[in-house]
């Protein structure tokens, strides 16, 4: 239910930077559905495990449109919305490198 991951690259800069650690969990899903602004880690078929910010959730709650904060971010604007099932967890703890 809890996973620790290391952030690579900088599409969520300046909030999350390369080398930061994040603790993610699915536990918050049971308490409250994902919403705009949440930072999630998910599995994308072409790119692997990614971390992005939820921009919006589809009306049925099954798909998420995720984006980065950097203008050159590779995200749902390129690969489309992601399925809720592909989400590995929501970031519950952010450990900054500096």
């Amino acid at each position: 239910m809890i996973r620790i991951l290391k952030v690579t690259e900088n599409s969520l800069s300046p909030f999350f930077l390369e080398g930061d650690f994040v603790v993610v969990s699915k536990i918050p899903f049971f308490l409250r559905p994902l919403k705009s602004g949440d930072i999630v880690v998910f599995n994308q078929p072409s790119y692997g495990i990614m971390i992005k910010q939820v921009e919006h959730v589809s009306p049925d709650g099954e798909q998420l449109f995720v984006v980065g904060t950097h203008p050159f971010s590779t995200d749902s604007r390129q690969f489309g919305p992601i399925r809720k099932e592909s989400v590995l967890g929501k970031v519950v703890w952010h450990i900054r490198k500096s």
Partner: protein
């Protein structure tokens, strides 16, 4: 202090990485560059065979011109492969593959066709290389909802190419 603990744990446990992937998505993709490169391969084979027929003396001048044709054939076969790989790797997404499941095998065939075009002077193989890239172009434009047409290239070797019907 907390970061140092996580860093130490990472060295021991090797945590998974979460990519905050960043790219520069210029969004400019067009298979015509690969099609023209493949067409150039056929043109070079034609020129090589023509030169061989018309040159009784295989002298330095002959070898110089012939080797230039070979070099251009090599370069353009590789360029065609490269340009197809870029579209396949950077533009084609999972939903395209679901819609056109033959894409992977077609791209693999193009890679092999490009290699054969470099290794040999087989004109039929080079023409097939052009045709396979035409099929790739048809799929590419279809993913964008753009209709295509076929027309003979307005330059030698005048093989048929796929063009988008743009308004």
């Amino acid at each position: 202090m907390i970061y140092q603990i996580f860093d130490w744990l990472d060295n021991k446990l090797d945590f998974d990485q979460a990519q905050a992937h960043c790219d520069i998505p210029c969004g400019i993709y067009d298979p015509i560059t690969a099609q023209i490169a493949a067409l150039t391969v056929v043109r070079m084979i034609d020129l090589m065979k023509d030169l061989e027929t018309k040159s009784p003396n295989k002298d330095a001048a002959f070898l110089n011109t012939f080797s230039r044709y070979v070099a251009v054939k090599e370069e353009h076969a590789e360029k065609a492969k490269h340009d197809v790989r870029v579209i396949w790797g950077d533009y084609i997404k999972t939903q395209h593959l679901e819609q056109y499941p033959e894409l992977h095998s077609l791209v693999h065939k193009i890679m092999q066709g490009g290699s054969k075009s470099r290794q040999t002077t087989d004109r039929d193989a080079a023409a097939a290389f052009v045709e396979d890239i035409n099929k790739f172009a048809e799929i590419f434009w279809a993913t964008k909802g753009i209709k295509t047409k076929r027309a003979k290239a307005p330059y030698a070797p005048n093989l048929e190419l796929v063009y988008p019907e743009l308004v």
